[in-house]
């Protein structure tokens, strides 16, 4: 029944869309006015040979502005949904503070008899060399990390990564700096994310842990977002939000697009750090908020 309804509704959607799209302008139609305008102003007003970048960061900068903050909102949602137990940053002293109440509730452990003692010893033997959890919360070390399962790969992979990473880094930065590629900072940011992932896959998390941490990455990401706002808002000096306020260099140089290039660089920071945060927080959704409760008998735990 569900399958039937699904196919009927899906087919109906496809049919309605098909009816709609046959009326769209085809390959023979003239370009719309807005496209002509973008092509016309690319060289004289922005000194860039790349109209797509000019549309992204120039004439339709406000779209890109909205998109940037949609991405930021998504990053924040992923962080919120995927956050795990926070690490201990300082000494809290729950045990010390709750001692009196605990004493009242639980006046003292029952004396452990010989059978109980041997059972506990057997349990300790069977659970192997696994380091026991801290006896009390207060004894847990500050800044203890979760065990890291991602170790480095073989020497072949590591060598390949060592060779590829500088090439990719240069290629990514080139995409952004030259501004010839449609999009500039967006593809460049994704290339840099790929680079981080390569190093992660080849060398394990430990090698990048110092750089790829939520703390510094979030700060850099927000700096990128702030740069986007500043670059676009300074356009008010020249009349409108997103207008060019930087001097224009001749085309096909680093600074040829004026604020276009600045916006593109900010976008590189934003996209690069944003996607890194998203990927690593998805990888790190390890801590299970719902403990598997053996007494839970309503069948939820069967699967």
């Amino acid at each position: 029944m569900r399958t039937l309804v699904g196919w009927v509704l899906g087919g109906a959607t496809a049919g309605v869309l098909a009816l709609g799209v046959v009326d769209l302008p085809r390959e023979g139609a003239g370009l719309p006015q807005i496209a002509r305008e973008a092509l016309r102003v690319a060289l004289p007003q922005w000194h860039t040979t790349e109209p797509v970048s000019e549309v992204v960061y120039g004439t339709r900068a406000f779209d890109t502005f909205g998109e940037t903050f949609l991405l930021l909102a998504a990053v924040v949602s992923v962080l919120l949904l995927g956050r795990h137990r926070e690490r201990r940053r300082e000494y809290f002293g729950e045990e010390e503070a709750g001692k009196e109440e605990q004493q009242y509730e639980n006046p003292g452990d029952e004396p452990v008899g010989p059978s109980e003692r041997s059972a506990r010893e057997a349990d300790a033997r069977e659970s192997g060399g696994r380091p026991a959890a801290a006896v009390t919360p207060d004894a847990e070390k500050v800044g203890t990390a979760a065990p890291e399962p991602a170790w480095g790969m073989t020497a072949v992979v590591r060598l390949a990564v060592r060779w590829v990473v500088p090439v990719l880094a240069v290629a990514g930065l080139y995409l952004m700096l030259q501004g010839y590629s449609p999009g500039g900072g967006f593809p460049a940011g994704v290339v840099l994310v790929g680079l981080v992932l390569l190093v992660y896959a080849g060398f394990g998390y430990r090698r990048i842990a110092r750089v790829v941490r939520p703390g510094p990455l979030e700060v850099v990401e927000l700096i990128g977002a702030l740069l986007v706002i500043v670059v676009l808002a300074l356009g008010f000096l020249r009349g409108s939000f997103g207008a060019n306020w930087l001097p224009l260099a001749p085309e096909r140089t680093f600074r040829s697009g004026g604020t276009m290039q600045a916006f593109s660089a900010a976008e590189l920071i934003e996209v690069g750090t944003g996607l890194t945060i998203v990927i690593f927080s998805i990888l790190a959704v390890r801590h299970d908020w719902t403990p598997a409760n053996p007494d839970d008998s309503d069948g939820k735990d069967e699967q």
Binding site: G10, G15, E27, A35, T49, P51, Y180, A292
Partner: protein, 122 residues
């Protein structure tokens, strides 16, 4: 015959809707949504195409034409290409949020079956 591209985009959109409606696995539902997104990319890029056009790059004009001449010549639509770029980033963002939600649902209910996720139901 660019209209074939348009129709394929419509069909892919429909297939995405079918996947969303008929599958119960949450990961597959997210994949269906990605299919719908992809159909939009196909439609946008197909709409940007013009017969015999060049890429919207004002560089290396053919003989007897200036770079500014390219701007009034036969090129693909740069605005739709920009919209497609925007759509890709938004697609990635939405998919990431959905996947994290799916992971949390899986951890909470110990299942990926949408039929068994019923706590909001009465």
């Amino acid at each position: 015959m660019i209209v074939a591209n348009y129709l394929v985009a419509g069909v892919v959109f429909g297939l995405g809707v079918v996947v969303i409606l008929t599958r119960r696995n949450l990961v597959k539902i997210v994949m269906g949504l990605s299919l719908v997104e992809s159909s939009c990319y196909l439609l946008l890029l197909s709409m940007a195409y013009r017969r015999g056009s060049t890429a919207p790059v004002l560089l290396g004009p053919p003989k007897g034409n200036s770079e500014q001449g390219l701007a009034t010549g036969n090129v693909a639509d740069p605005v739709l290409q920009n919209i497609c770029l925007t759509a890709i980033v938004i697609g990635v963002a939405v998919t990431a949020v959905l996947l994290v939600t799916v992971v949390r649902i899986a951890q909470h209910y110990r299942t990926l079956d949408a039929d068994r996720v019923r706590d909001l139901c009465g």
